[in-house]
């Protein structure tokens, strides 16, 4: 493999990893707080893609982008209200099924409304600008994604560990009742968590789809699954973990495909995951559950 | 019973560390057959941890725990139960969604002779029958028979404690470890429990080793008492000796107030 090809592959790996990381953070946020695998996360991400298509059709990009972020956030919070809130005291499995149900619903709704055919994702000026250095070529998003990811991680960690809202989120994640006894408004905290999670999905969707150019009803399902794996890999609930997980999977996958083992690129994701879990049963940076007898 | 005291449980120089915390620091003690022995000490002294080291939930950092002369090192909790040590937990751990009857019946399985095929194909009806009869008998003896179809978690606290003990008895132990059996009971109930412990000790030829903070109970029935503080043994002896030991009073019992 020539050096150019190698570097090009590295760029690909980094940009894929960055996109995975962004989505994985959203998973980890919601899981960390609600102990809920939000299967609909990938589909919220897909819907954000469609929102952008329609928004850009009728407004300039600098209005469309905030608009899409807002609408996606509202969608996420709305889903929480309708599908998860009534199940606060139900078995965890029911909530998960509800999440799967929402995921089905969004996919089916998208198929119904927008057909199964892919739709072109609009270009946001600047993001798609292609840089060519020697034989290498990469667009602006390729560099922008990892940087933005790191910035967001910093902000989120600050939020969770150094603000009151963050403290409330962590308390709610353990025990609704006791959290309420501390004066924490459970519903507001959870809504807030979903808002952040969906916002991240929306940001992730802009970067991801800009790089991949089309949206179809199942666009969210595979990244959804992979990013969930990335989140588990890093230790679900841990934000730096999700980022590391995202990059490891993105780059590992790229390396494998580049080496000609596409067949195992999906399986690879899981092999890596299982190896990590065997060594560290709660993921790379996962907190050990404290369960004193 | 033997005239020579046969020791059933022996801990020698046991140390248990969690990261920076040394929960038990060189604990040595013995419990002899047929005795009721209490382990007391301030909160966080390492009492529960000692129990966890005995029952295999933790592996001690160093030191030896032996049961009837057999070193328990590396043995898993189920294996230790099989050897004849049963326990209850500080925070009640019943199979909360199962019935009282099933809670006890499950424990009976330990001594059953069957395998998954004979059990599934109902070739073990005799064995199953025997387990059920024994469970019934045990429940009757413990005055729990009327409640046999109740869901365990719906029982009042005191009865849950009693059920937990019954379940432990169902494994046919020689040594019974009780971790704060009277917690959450009012003095009246505590008194009943006191009589109950003596009764089962005699009825099932048990050795009892218990952790307790209710001094009336401890002082009434324990033949010997060990006192632990910061993971170290600070005193041992009879009720009177302990009650009058200044170090124990200072660290644990406090002023004259009755607890």
């Amino acid at each position: 493999m020539s050096l150019t090809t190698f570097l090009q592959q590295c760029l690909t790996g980094i940009s894929l990893g960055g996109a995975y990381a962004l989505i994985a953070i959203g998973y980890t946020m919601v899981y960390g707080i609600l102990r809920l695998i939000n299967f609909a996360h990938g589909d919220i991400f897909m819907m954000a893609g469609y929102f952008m298509i329609f928004a850009m059709a009728s407004m300039p990009w600098f209005i469309a982008v905030p608009f899409v972020l807002l609408v996606t956030t509202v969608l996420g919070v709305g889903i929480e209200r309708v599908a998860y809130k009534p199940l606060r005291s139900a078995p965890r499995m029911s909530v998960m099924i509800s999440a799967i149900g929402v995921s089905y619903l969004l996919q089916n709704l998208a198929t119904y409304l927008f057909t199964a055919l892919p739709m072109a994702y609009p270009e946001i000026p600047g993001l798609k600008k292609i840089f060519k250095i020697g034989g290498l070529s990469a667009s602006f998003v390729t560099f922008f994604t990892p940087v933005l990811t790191i910035v967001l991680v910093y902000l989120l960690i600050t939020l969770i560990h150094h603000t009151k809202m963050g403290m409330a989120m962590r308390a709610v994640s353990k025990d609704y009742e006791t959290a309420a006894l501390m004066g924490i408004d459970i519903n507001r905290t959870i809504s807030f968590t979903f808002a952040i999670g969906s916002l991240l999905a929306a940001i992730g969707s802009i970067l991801y789809f800009t790089d991949r150019m089309t949206v179809f009803p199942f666009s969210g399902s595979l990244p959804g699954l992979k990013c969930f794996v990335a989140a588990v890999f890093g230790g679900i609930g841990s934000i730096p973990g999700a980022v590391v997980g995202g990059f490891v999977l993105g780059m590992g996958e790229t390396a494998l495909v580049a080496a000609g083992y596409s067949t195992f690129s999906d399986a690879f994701t899981f092999v890596v995951l299982i190896i990590i879990l065997l060594v560290r049963p709660t993921g790379l940076f996962g907190e050990k559950t404290t369960n004193k007898v | 019973m033997n005239e020579v005291k046969e020791n059933v449980l022996k801990m020698e120089n046991v140390v248990m560390q969690f990261g920076g915390v040394t929960a038990i620091d060189g604990l040595s003690l013995e419990v002899n057959r047929g005795e009721i022995v209490a382990l007391i000490g301030p909160n966080g002294a390492g009492k529960t941890t000692a129990f966890n080291c005995i029952t295999g939930i933790y592996q001690p950092t160093s030191g030896v725990v032996s049961f009837k002369g057999e070193n328990l090192k590396g043995k898993s909790p189920d294996c230790i139960t099989r050897l004849g040590i049963a326990r209850t937990f500080q925070n009640i751990r019943l199979f909360s969604n199962l019935t009282v009857f099933d809670n006890v019946l499950i424990a009976k399985h330990l001594r059953a002779h069957d395998n998954v095929f004979t059990a599934t194909l109902r070739l073990n009806l005799k064995e199953e029958d025997r387990m059920r009869r024994e469970t019934e008998k045990l429940l009757r003896e413990q005055d729990l028979y009327e409640l046999k179809d109740e869901i365990a978690s719906s029982l009042p606290y005191g009865l849950q404690r009693r059920l937990e003990i019954a379940r432990a008895l169902a494994t046919s132990p020689e040594l019974l470890l009780l971790d704060e059996p009277a917690a959450g009971m009012n003095p009246q109930e505590t008194q009943e429990l006191t009589d109950f412990i003596v009764k089962i000790r005699d009825q099932y030829h048990l050795t009892v080793f218990m952790i307790e903070h209710h001094m009336d109970l401890v002082m009434q029935i324990s033949e010997r008492i060990y006192v632990l503080n910061f993971g170290k043994l600070i005193a041992q002896g009879s009720s009177e000796e302990i009650q009058n030991n200044p170090e124990v009073i200072e660290a644990y019992l406090g002023g004259s107030e009755d607890a």
Binding site: T178, T290, K292 | N43, N91, Q188, G255
Partner: protein, 235 residues
């Protein structure tokens, strides 16, 4: 200050509390005693808004709070230290203490020092994850956390459970102190009826969902029936 009127609580058809009424006067210590399963905890949970009352009303400072959500009640100054500790296992001791003051916006430093003084063990272990504390340590933490919210009324559900005798005395001393020094009203549930009645200004006895007896602490302490049933003194 707190007034409970004809409170009823249902768990799936089973009536755990059958229309009880009582009052907690300002700056007093009131205790509820009674056998296991009498409905004491349920009553406190209803006051804190954790379970819905199926009938009756609860008012606080003359205001009806029966249908207020828990967080709002806490904001009004009602704090419950729940039965079974319920510390946040994955947070450190210090974080647990701080979260007790979630609704406060003033400086916490002084109060933290105060609870540290009450429970030196907690200061020693402020960095430890609460889930790994011993049972008794967790109990101390739960009480400390409850104090941090600067409540008007502090409800304690069996605070002495599983504590060493010396700490039990300490806890009751603390109860008296916060009541006298800080003027916090206390509503207490205790199995240790003996000590509870000693500190209580007023006591209620609950049996299978109803209040069967009431009086000052001293009155009940002297009562033969109570002695036989709850104080373990036969005769």
């Amino acid at each position: 200050m707190l007034k409970v009127d004809n409170l009823k609580i249902n768990y799936g058809g089973i009536e755990a509390v059958k229309g009880i009424s009582f009052e907690v006067p300002d700056q007093s210590i009131v205790t509820l005693i009674g056998a296991n399963g009498a409905g004491k905890s349920s009553t406190l949970r209803a006051i804190a808004g954790l379970v819905k009352a199926s009938g009756g009303s609860i008012s606080f400072d003359g205001e009806d709070i029966t249908s207020l959500p828990t967080a709002k009640r806490v904001a009004k100054g009602i704090t419950l230290c729940p039965e079974g500790r319920h510390v946040f296992p994955d947070m450190t001791v210090l974080e647990n203490i701080k979260i007790g003051a979630y609704l406060r916006n003033d400086s916490l430093e002084e109060d933290i020092q105060r609870v540290y003084k009450l429970f030196p063990r907690l200061e020693e272990r402020h960095w430890q994850l609460a889930g790994t504390l011993s049972g008794g340590e967790q109990q101390m933490l739960a009480v400390a956390r409850g104090l941090m919210s600067n409540p008007k009324i502090l409800m304690l559900d069996e605070p002495s459970l599983g504590l060493a005798p010396i700490i039990v005395q300490e806890i009751f001393n603390i109860i008296k102190r916060i009541n006298q020094e800080q003027g916090i009203t206390v509503l207490l549930i205790e199995q240790n009826a003996n000590m509870a009645l000693k500190v209580a200004d007023r006591a209620y006895v609950m049996e299978t969902g109803s209040i069967t007896m009431t009086g000052t602490g001293a009155e009940l302490l002297a009562n033969d029936e109570i002695q036989a049933a709850y104080l373990g003194r036969k005769k």
